[in-house]
């Protein structure tokens, strides 16, 4: 009961409380997911170990405008090596990808499609968090501070994943990190459209 009371209180600067967000999670999630289901399914269902260049390209292309990027074979090798060391929530092994010019958003996308507990790290989801009065840095460079930002983002999502009541979890074969991230993304989209 105490948990519910805390969740129903709005944080300073928040547009809605966690509880108000939770009640909208199924609707928000499905709205976001409907737009990108095909791409998302290709990302998760065609992933395998060790990942190859086509998987890396698909992950990098997800939510990115334009054609899928060309992927160098040494990026694939470095990603395979990083995967061997990735254990949630440690994101440090992703630093190996920095020399390929990737940013934190792209590295998170690669991690998510292989290990879905790692959430996609998207500017809109960060804006969605802000609407709940929760602060995480925008995705930036793939370096130590950039990964600390990703870690903060993950911690915020972990709190929401833990607190969301079962009545607000959609029946879907996706990890809660995906459900919450997509719901936050959609929240930010709706807020931005309402402000126009």
């Amino acid at each position: 009961m105490r948990g519910q009371a805390v969740a129903s209180r709005r944080r300073p600067g928040a547009t809605l409380s966690d509880q108000e967000f939770f009640e909208q999670v199924p609707r928000l999630f499905w709205a976001c997911h409907a737009r990108e289901e095909t791409a998302y399914h290709l990302g998760i269902y065609l992933a395998h170990r060790p990942p190859d260049g086509s998987e890396v390209a698909r992950a990098l292309a997800f939510r990115a405008p334009g054609p899928a990027p060309a992927v160098a074979s040494d990026l694939v090798r470095d990603f395979q090596a990083a995967l061997a060391d990735l254990h949630y929530p440690d994101a440090k092994p992703l630093l190996r990808l920095a020399r390929h010019g990737l940013d934190a958003r792209q590295a998170a996308s690669l991690a998510h499609f292989e290990l879905p507990s790692y959430p996609l790290y998207e500017p809109l989801a960060v804006k969605g968090l802000l609407l709940l009065g929760r602060v995480a840095p925008m995705p930036g460079r793939l370096d130590e501070p950039g990964l600390r930002g990703y870690r903060t983002f993950m911690q915020q999502l972990d709190e929401l994943k833990e607190a969301v009541p079962f009545t607000c979890v959609p029946e879907a074969p996706y990890y809660l990190s995906r459900v919450v991230e997509a719901a936050l993304t959609e929240l930010a989209v709706e807020q931005s459209e309402a402000a126009k």
Partner: protein, 375 residues
Amino acid sequence: MPAQTVRTFDDWIREFQAWQTEIGFPKQLLGDFKFEEKFGDPCGPNVEFGEFKGRPKWETPMQVPLQDMRDGLMNLIVYQGDTEFASVEQQRHLVKTAPTDYDLKSILRVMSEEMRHGWQMCYLLVTHFGKTGAIEAQKQLQRRSWNKERLLGSFNEPVDHWLDFFTYTDFVDRDGKYQLRMLSHSGFAPLAKSMGPMLKEESFHLGTGQTGLRRILQAGKIPTAIVQQYFNKWVPTAFDLFGKDKSTPARLYYVWGLKGRYDEDTNAETPDLDDLNAHARALYRREVEELVVQLNALLAPGEPKLVVPDLKFRRDPKLSEHGGQPYDIHGKRLSDREYEDYLARNLPNEETKARLDEIFKTPDWIAPKGGPAAA
């Protein structure tokens, strides 16, 4: 090696680990999954319905007023736990044939969480119900689905392949959701508080089933008539899982405040105590019908539509007044001879299995592997 007597939960954990090995569960694939008991918020601090409505929820069995109630409560926990371990036994072979790595992750997660749910029930049995509870917790690990020793019919049926698994997960696990929701209103606080985390995990299982069926229909390789055969296999058993019409135990569980209605928190109507199981079954059936409408929307024009079997089809004679009688999936009565032919044609048979074996050898029997979703 004969089983050791279980006295403490640590004893039970050792038996659980031996059970995992014996059924051939690939423990090495569990990763960092942690077996633990989890408790959420109860629906409220007081008993929500029945004769004891308004009194504080019971924290221990000794606070439960009557011995009959305590026995009934333990029985509810035993049945729930038994289904959890049984489902893992049913699904254990499928790890080797997962169509994708994500499906492998999904089934491992489903099986791990079902084991955790069984763990949770056994934790309650061992820590709250003394020697009898410990014996019952141990028996959960001694019955075997493949020997047809599990307590409920659905859980003694084999789950042979991934079409079977997705159908089972969509429809039989969905009965599980109903049972857990009904127990989430229990007056026994440790049981009620167990349900939130279990239901949260169950959402993934149900989504795995429905999306798996969608992916199969999107790929369009398995004929709808075969998919229907698996609906005919599982849905009637799921109807049976709700128990007998006009059930005395269901009435008592309600009157005692131990097991509520599925919609207890939103249904302001006075319950018909003779109709509790039928009420839950009707809500379940409506939900399944809505899901099947979604699946039918994926079928090509001219394809036969999938059907939720009628409540009279293939029901257990011990549970339903229509049980053992010759009805088809539309509820039409057949002669005994027609019925025999009908079952042979409308349930999975050797021909179906041979056809599926061939289809499963092709890489595109499920989307997105060349099916429309991948186009």
